[in-house]
């Protein structure tokens, strides 16, 4: 009986190893640093979250989407300002991060846009944001909510 359990455990372990190795190509080496977001008034205004996404592995990784219980439609967006000083915002699509490289989600550029909030983003609270990668892997971050007027974790 004990042997049977051990065999099962071993089989499960092998199965996990066997399946996860080809599926996960790189995203397990992704590290999220300095995540933060701004509080929002009510639930009708979209929120924004910022962070550095670093690929510490040897293979390129592609960020394909976001998931969070906080918002129905979280999406990576990019703000751009043209020569006439006009700012616009559009979905950034898939973003590939080269080995050893990182992308910066920062005010005025790339950001995690949190649309259709399920609950208000209140200063002092945190929420869970999951980054989804093309290899099927996911990386989750706990994002602190700072004040509306905040410029980042340093003030």
């Amino acid at each position: 009986m004990e042997k049977l359990i051990r065999t099962n455990a071993l089989a499960a372990l092998l199965a996990v190893a066997g399946f996860s190795a080809p599926l996960m190509a790189g995203s397990e080496d992704v590290v999220i640093e300095g995540a933060w977001s701004r509080a929002a008034i009510g639930v009708n205004r979209p929120g924004a979250a910022y962070m550095t996404v670093r690929n510490t592995g040897d293979a390129p990784v592609t960020l394909t989407g976001l998931e969070t219980p906080l918002a129905v439609m979280p999406e990576i967006h990019e703000t751009s300002t043209n020569a006439e000083g006009v700012s616009s915002m559009a979905p950034a699509g898939k973003i590939t991060i080269a080995p050893g490289d990182s992308i910066e989600l920062a005010p005025g550029g790339l950001h995690a846009m949190l649309m259709q909030l399920q609950e208000p983003m209140t200063e002092g609270e945190t929420f869970v944001l999951t980054l989804e990668f093309s290899d099927g892997g996911e990386v989750t971050a706990e994002v602190p909510i700072l004040g509306i007027a905040s410029r980042g974790p340093e003030g």
Binding site: P46, A83, V86, S87, P107
Partner: protein, 208 residues
Amino acid sequence: MQRRQVFRYGAAGVGALGLTLLVGWWREDGPGAPEPTGQRPLSLSAMDFRLTDHDGNDVGPQTLIGRPSMVFFGFTYCPDVCPTTLSDISGWLDELGEEAKRMNVVFITVDPERDTVDAMAEYVGYFHQAIRGWTGPEQQIARAIDGFRATYEKVAADGDYYTMNHTASVFLFDAKGQFVTMIDYHEPREFAVPKIRRALKEETTGAT
């Protein structure tokens, strides 16, 4: 007969050419010409629009004359650029300290549909207390935008959601309402604060 016909065609040709030239002039140089982009904003005294500030007061460009002014456009449903601009401005005002009290600082919404007086009041309350929020009928917002030679555009997104593209620069005027300069989005603070000081200084130059 043949000659007359040639003359007729000739006259028609000249007429058509004249019309083409007239249409061309109208479109390119005449009243039908598109507004050239990148123009200097008008002086505040030459602008004409009526809005309401976040305390419910009637305001317009004339309200700003007499003190140096810092004016910018945005909307409160903007998750990235606008809070960043407002917090940058709050930082500049903190750095200016007492000097900032001699300035008008105005945030004009380009999204009056969602940015009511109350929405503006709640929003500006999170930033530096010198910042005033102005809103009003769409047609008046359009007149303000026109005076500043700025642009805005409503962009539909998924479902009921929409966003606004808009000029993100901060406009500086002296106490007489003359345009001094603008601070572009992303401009480092070490450039922004001296530019504001220049607008403040032109007030004293103007007074003497």
